[in-house]
């Protein structure tokens, strides 16, 4: 008769027993994520059918089409808007995160909650709020006109400025939370040591605080840049025909033009752009789980 101990050993070394909990999740993600993603890649090399659909005839034309200045310009605009959003969020977010990290622990919790609440509020609703404020006969213009600051209503809605405001508003919490996590972990004695060594305010910031909080800064920038680059709702509601971003182009090609192969090519380039950014970050020496932890 086998002893209970040997039974346990058998259970624990049996690879099937240890792996099986992973299998349902892997199967699910394969079916509803990896296969659809590969399908995009496959269709991006196919041709457009006569009435929309897909004709399985190899063609690299779709990728050649992206180089058209019309589409390149949309890519460039998305990149610039996403980069500007990231910079503004960093500029706004760093002082806020630093302030939060310096508060008494009790108050830190309150502020985190205050940052998280808008982040949990429906994105459409938050974007709609800016439509309500920025539109021609909206609140901002009414207030400015009443104060006599302007003579005619400002046309902010449906411009790049409106899209930028909406993106910063939507993604600011993504920047603040990892920054806060990094600054809260910062060893205060190192900052004090710098003061003791007669470092100026600027050198303390540049040579001590920035290098020590760099992982948080990079994580925050990625967390803002990735969704901003692929934004759809913000440019769709706050932008107009002249502020189209890649996300809108993808939707337009699939649902309006019904050119699935070209839409797939655009999607694939977008995915590749984002993944190259993440890979660059990972290979810069930061561990993946460190990034995950700071989220």
């Amino acid at each position: 008769m086998t002893s209970p101990i040997s039974l346990i050993r058998k259970d624990r070394s049996d690879p099937w027993r240890s792996h099986w909990p992973l299998i349902p999740a892997v199967v699910w993600l394969t079916a509803f994520f990896f296969v659809p993603l590969l399908l995009i890649l496959a269709i991006s090399f196919a041709s457009r059918g006569l009435y929309g659909g897909v004709e399985w005839r190899f063609s690299a034309e779709n990728y050649a089409m992206i180089v058209d200045p019309l589409y390149l310009w949309i890519y460039l605009r998305s990149f610039l808007l996403a980069a500007a959003t990231t910079m503004v969020c960093l500029l706004f977010g760093f002082p806020l995160a630093y302030y939060m990290a310096r508060l008494a622990p009790r108050w830190q919790g309150v502020w985190i909650l205050l940052i998280i609440i808008p982040f949990w509020t429906n994105f459409l609703v938050r974007t709609y709020a800016w439509m309500f404020i920025l539109r021609g006969e909206g609140l901002l213009n009414s207030v400015l006109l009443a104060m006599g600051a302007i003579d005619a209503p400002l046309d902010i809605l449906y411009t790049n400025t409106a899209v930028l405001i909406g993106l910063v508003y939507g993604y600011l919490p993504f920047m603040v939370l990892p920054l806060y996590a990094a600054i809260a972990r910062l060893d205060r004695s190192l900052v004090e040591a710098a003061w003791d060594l007669y470092a100026g305010r600027w050198s303390v910031f540049r040579r001590v605080i920035v290098p020590l909080t760099k992982p948080g800064v990079i994580a925050g920038c990625l967390l803002v840049f990735i969704p901003a680059m692929g934004a759809f709702i913000t440019p769709d509601l706050l932008g107009g025909a002249r502020t189209m971003m890649v996300g809108n182009l993808v939707q337009h090609e699939y649902l309006v033009i019904r050119d699935w192969p070209f839409g797939s090519a655009i999607s694939f380039v977008l995915i590749a752009t984002v993944l190259i950014g993440v890979t660059a970050y990972l290979s810069s020496g930061h561990r993946f789980d460190e990034w995950e932890r700071s989220r």
Partner: protein, 259 residues
């Protein structure tokens, strides 16, 4: 100290930036005027109109069905995946983990169109079912990440002790691991539920006729022109999400009280 004063002012400015639009939205949901941004009097008419809107009720029902079912799937598979990945015998852990987190990294628009192409290609009609399958796919890694964070902090000696006392792997999981993971699972479920309720993009691409969820309804209302009903609906959603955040914060507090 003056330095902190400047920081405090900047931080308050940030907070105002985050909250003024939301407050404006809620305040103007009580404005009597249908068109102007000027205050013309207090009314609750817009809320009454929402309450009698049958299509809105249908949208809420659809949203809840999708959120409950997709969160249940994501929770079951996500918790299992986190536990499976945590086992020392798993090879190529980093690779598997990275691959499973990919749905959180690719832009949502591309996830939406990928799922749409997939369902159309295998000839599954787009409906509430396809929406739910898609939601479960992007919520699975959400639950997994949150549970993993908790597993890493857990003392492996506790499970070892259960094995030493003759527990089967299932018993060890059911009686030791699961109770210790409960707060993280609750947090993950709440997060997944909220993300599913709020999702517009994946639903937009994978939904078909009759699968209008609340965000889709809000979107079509916005697209057909600004109206105070949208303000009222927004205010309701804002209050709901605040309630969810409060619930999450309470769960968090319970976790720290646990011995």
């Amino acid at each position: 100290m003056r330095r902190l004063g400047v920081l405090a002012a900047l931080s308050m400015g940030n907070l105002a930036f985050l909250y003024v639009p939301i407050v404006v939205l809620v305040v103007f949901s009580f404005n009597a005027s249908r068109l102007s941004a000027a205050w013309t009097g207090f009314t609750t008419d817009w809320y009454l109109q929402l309450a009698t809107d049958a299509s809105l009720r249908a949208a809420v029902k659809n949203s809840l069905i999708v959120a409950v079912v997709s969160t249940a799937i994501a929770a079951a598979l996500g918790v299992a995946a986190a536990v499976g990945l945590d086992h020392p015998a798993v090879r190529r852990r980093r690779l598997i983990e990275g691959a499973m987190l990919l749905p959180l990294l690719v832009p949502e628009v591309t996830l939406g169109v990928a799922l749409m192409l997939f369902f159309v290609t295998i000839r599954v009609p787009l409906s509430l079912v396809t929406v739910t399958l898609g939601h479960a796919a992007f919520n699975l890694p959400v639950v997994m990440v949150i549970v993993q964070a908790r597993l890493r902090k857990m003392d492996p000696g506790l499970v070892e002790a259960a094995y030493d006392l003759g527990a089967s792997p299932w018993q060890a999981f059911r009686r030791v691991t699961l109770p210790l993971l409960a707060p993280a699972i609750a947090g993950g479920v709440l997060m997944a539920f909220t993300i599913s309720l709020d999702d517009f993009i994946v639903t937009f691409f994978t939904g078909g006729p009759g699968s209008t969820t609340l965000p889709l309804k809000v979107y079509s209302m916005i697209k057909s022109g600004l109206s105070p009903e949208i303000n009222a609906l927004s205010a309701v959603l804002v209050v709901l999400s605040m309630a969810l955040v409060a619930l999450a914060a309470m769960l968090q507090r319970d976790k720290t009280r646990r011995p």
